[in-house]
C-alpha cells in the first residue's frame, strides 16, 4: 500500500528530475559553439547562412538549430569560409557540391526546381483565370434571365456591367492580399 507520504515523495522526486533535466537542456543549448568574427557583418551573415542551410542528417532543421555532428561541422566550415572572405553564394555552393541541392533551403532555379519556384504562380494564375471565367459566366446568365423577365435590355446590360465591376474589384482585392502574404 502506498501511503500519502510516499506519494508526496514520488512527486517531489519527479519534480526534482524535471528540474535537473531542464537545467541540463539549457546548458546544452548554451554550449553549442563559440565563434569569433572579424566583423559584425560577418556575424550577421553567419546567422543568415546557418539558417539557410539544411542539416542533411536531421532533416527539416537548419544547421543553426541542429545538434547533429554534421551540422556542427557545417557551421565550422561556414565560419571558416566566411572569415576567408568567401561570398554567401560560394559558401552555399560549397555545401551543395558536397551534400547536394537538398542542403539549401533556397534551391537554385533550374529545370528540376521549376515546379517548386513557378508552380504556385501557375496555380495562382489558373485560379485568377477561373474566377474571371466564372464571373463572366454569372454576368452573362444574369443577362439571359433579365431578358426572360421582360426588363429592358439596356437595364440588364447596366446590371451586368455593375456586377462585372464588382467582380473585378473583388479579384483585385484578392490579388493585393496575395501580394501582402508574400
Amino acid at each position: 500500500m502506498r501511503t500519502p507520504n510516499t506519494a508526496k515523495s514520488a512527486i517531489m522526486f519527479s519534480l526534482f528530475f524535471i528540474l535537473v533535466f531542464s537545467l541540463q537542456g539549457s546548458n546544452l543549448m548554451a554550449s553549442i559553439d563559440l565563434y569569433e568574427f572579424s566583423s559584425e557583418a560577418n556575424e550577421l551573415r553567419y546567422k543568415e547562412l546557418t539558417k539557410e542551410l539544411r542539416c542533411p542528417k536531421c532533416q527539416n532543421q537548419d544547421i543553426a538549430d541542429s545538434n547533429a555532428p554534421i551540422a556542427a561541422d557545417m557551421r565550422r566550415e561556414v565560419h571558416r569560409l566566411l572569415e576567408a572572405g568567401e561570398s554567401d553564394r560560394s559558401i552555399v555552393g560549397f555545401m551543395v557540391d558536397r551534400f547536394g541541392e537538398f542542403v539549401s533551403y533556397k534551391p537554385k532555379v533550374k529545370p528540376d526546381t521549376y515546379l517548386l519556384w513557378y508552380g504556385p504562380w501557375v496555380l495562382l494564375f489558373l485560379g485568377v483565370v477561373m474566377i474571371f471565367f466564372m464571373a463572366s459566366r454569372r454576368s452573362s446568365s444574369g443577362q439571359g434571365s433579365g431578358q426572360g423577365k421582360n426588363t429592358s435590355e439596356a437595364e440588364s446590360a447596366k446590371q451586368a456591367g455593375k456586377s462585372d465591376l464588382e467582380q473585378h474589384k473583388q479579384v483585385e482585392e484578392l490579388l493585393s492580399r496575395f501580394k501582402e502574404d508574400d
Binding site: P56, K57, Q59, P69, I70, D73, E77, V96, D97, R98, F99, G100, E101, F102, L115, L126, M130, F133, M134, R137
Partner: protein, 178 residues
C-alpha cells in the same frame, strides 16, 4: 460544355498532384542524392590508420574498381555490416576503409578483434575527407572506379541483398569498362 470544364478542372489538378505524389511513394526521404556522383574522389592527404607515418592521397584509389567504406567504432550499423565486408574481402573484392571521426586506438582494436576487410584504412579523425565526400552518416559505401571516380554511394548497412542487387553489378560493370 463549359460547365463540365469547370467541374473537371479540380479533378484534373487532383489527378496531376496525385501522380506527382505517387512517384514519391516508397522513396526513403533520408536517402539524399550523391553530390559527388561521377566526380573524382576529392583531393586529400591523410595518414594511414595502422601507420601514422604513412600518408594516403586520392591517387591511392586509382587503378582498380574498389569499395570505399566509411566506418567508425561508434557506429552500431558498422558493426552489423563488418562480418559481411570480411566475407566480401575474402571473395576478392577490394575494399578500402575510411575511418571516420574515430579514435585510432579504438579503431585498431576493433580491426584486431573483428578482423580486417580493408586493403588499407585511411584515418580521418576530423572527418575532413568525409566532409568533402558529403558523408552525413556512417556507414556509407562508395563504388569507386579505376580512375577514382565515384560511381555510386550506398548509405546504410551493406548486406548480401545490397551487394547482389546493387553494388556487385556496378563493380562488374566498371571492371568491364576498363
Amino acid at each position: 460544355m463549359n460547365k463540365r470544364l469547370v467541374y473537371l478542372t479540380p479533378l484534373a489538378i487532383a489527378l496531376g498532384l496525385g501522380l506527382i505524389l505517387f512517384t514519391a511513394i516508397g522513396k526513403d526521404p533520408t536517402k539524399l542524392e550523391t553530390a559527388r556522383l561521377n566526380d573524382p574522389i576529392p583531393a586529400f592527404n591523410l595518414a594511414s590508420l595502422a601507420d601514422e607515418s604513412l600518408r594516403f592521397s586520392q591517387k591511392d584509389l586509382v587503378g582498380e574498381v574498389s569499395l570505399l567504406n566509411v566506418w567508425a567504432t561508434w557506429c552500431p550499423s558498422c558493426r552489423v555490416e563488418h562480418d559481411y565486408l570480411i566475407k566480401l574481402a575474402d571473395e576478392g573484392v577490394k575494399i578500402i576503409g575510411l575511418n571516420y571521426k574515430d579514435e585510432r586506438m579504438a579503431a585498431l582494436t576493433w580491426l584486431k578483434e573483428l578482423g580486417n576487410p580493408y586493403q588499407f584504412t585511411i584515418y580521418d579523425p576530423h572527418g575532413k575527407l568525409g566532409f568533402d565526400l558529403g558523408v552525413y552518416g556512417a556507414p556509407e559505401t562508395y563504388v569507386v572506379d579505376q580512375n577514382s571516380v565515384v560511381r555510386y554511394r550506398h548509405v546504410g548497412v551493406v548486406n548480401e541483398q545490397v551487394w547482389k542487387n546493387t553494388l556487385e553489378p556496378l563493380v562488374k560493370k566498371y571492371q568491364a569498362s576498363r
